[in-house]
Symmetry: C2
Subunit: 107 residues, 2 copies
């Protein structure tokens, strides 16, 4: 089975600790602007903007403009998709190993 295109982005996005912190921070606030998040995470607003761009690209976050500010909220769909993907692989490989084990035992 081919890894779906989005999995690349999602896992790559989740790979960075700062981005996971950002997701947590946004989740805790419900929604937040890049400037506000700068007080939650020890990096520059610009760095946060870049991270939000990556998260947005991965579909993990979505921003909406209100006047001069942009509020970001977490999108959970891709997250659960990624979780499902992991679980499916784990189950698949578990089953295969079990089969091999039974064969090896001369069943």
């Amino acid at each position: 089975m081919r890894t779906p295109r989005s999995a690349d982005d999602v896992f790559a996005a989740l790979a960075d600790p700062t981005r996971r912190e950002l997701l947590t921070a946004i989740g805790a606030r419900g929604s937040a602007t890049a400037t506000a998040l700068a007080s939650d995470v020890p990096v520059t607003r610009q760095a946060i903007v870049k991270h939000l761009g990556v998260l947005d690209e991965a579909g993990l976050v979505s921003g909406q403009r209100h006047g001069r500010e942009v509020r970001y909220a977490v999108r959970t769909q891709r997250l659960t998709e990624a979780a499902r993907w992991l679980e499916a692989r784990a189950a698949e490989w578990d089953a295969r190993l079990e089969r091999i084990k039974r064969l090896a035992e001369g069943g």
Copy 2:
């Protein structure tokens, strides 16, 4: 909530497409050596060895020596742990957004 130490390694390990391909390849074979995997993935055996090191460090794979070769198998536990982590976050944030939404609607 603090991201558990292992999540760092797991997501970082899963971030690389080549490593996910390796996991898939190992899973498909049941178990495999670095040399064998070199024919599944378009990189050098040495690169694969490095990747297997990362996967091993993350607890996603475990190697066992048999004579002069080392066979690697997938370990699914960390995988399911990561899946659980994602699902928990998704559920948590979904609930919070739902609450906020109800409040905003003046409920």
